[in-house]
Symmetry: C2
Subunit: 133 residues, 2 copies
DNA sequence: ACTACTCTCGGAAACGATTGTCAAATCCGT
DNA sequence: ACGGATTTGACAATCGTTTCCGAGAGTAGT
């Protein structure tokens, strides 16, 4: 499988259901939460399947994935291109932010120390206005 | 535990052994790796104890902790104060970096969106000069 | 529509890091 | 050295996630 094709990607009810949830969802959610939501909507999908499909979507860059402090992986739909997140630690509301300054700073710092092929991760956590009251 | 004192903090062989390892260690290491190193040095310490002491040291801001992509928590000694890391993804060599500009930017962005109690995480990964050759 | 060939599903078992339990060992002030 | 509190450590339990594997469902070819 080194050469070309990804797997053919079949169009299943479960795949559609997970994608639909993610399209609606505002903040980050864990695989288990998404599994619960599916159950509530009556579109029951096996937990393993939820995990698999979320991974697939994340691999295809259709979802952002991040780990919270509890070690859970959270998913959320995302716009294309490089960006970071401002996440409410109460309700999960998320704002995508860009910071050209930060990008340049990170690259410059890495360059100063002779590092190549630089990447970075940056997340901002806080309590949003609504949750603060 | 809201009120006053930290726990009395006793000076045990195990606590000293863990602290000693961390003083020597150059890059980030997982609790289990540290447990192994202790065993090799003949200073055997229970795994739970290693976990507990690493957490305690991290809580006391004597160690930095970060999670790798595999979900393991890695520890490393650190200087005091807020800082970030530039980590070589090959050899683990780590440089502590500061970025007042970034701090201000993050706070400003969060403030713009009405977020309070803001924290952020930022790590830079790359290949260091030595490993690039 | 029928067949054959996969890919996918799902429930249960496996996994791996971490945390909890609790009796025994160890500290440390007195 | 004594005694009460903390800490240790072997083991079990937890928790998120992954893997297994037989059954089920898409899809292409006829």
């Amino acid at each position: 499988m080194s050469t070309t094709s990804e797997s053919p990607q079949r169009n299943t009810r479960q795949r559609r259901a997970v994608a639909a949830i993610m399209a609606d969802l505002e903040g980050f959610a864990s695989a288990q939460q998404i599994h619960d939501i599916l159950k509530q909507r009556g579109e029951s999908v096996g937990l393993s399947t939820v995990y698999r499909n979320l991974q697939a979507l994340a691999d295809a860059d259709l979802l952002d994935a991040l780990r919270n402090d509890d070690g859970e992986t959270l998913y959320r739909r995302c716009s294309s291109g490089h960006h970071h997140h401002l996440v409410c630690r109460q309700c999960g509301r998320t704002v995508e932010v860009e910071g050209p300054t930060v990008e340049r700073w990170a690259d410059a710092v890495a360059d100063d120390h002779g590092f190549r092929d630089v990447e970075h991760t940056l997340e901002i956590f806080g309590t949003c206005g609504d949750c603060a009251s």
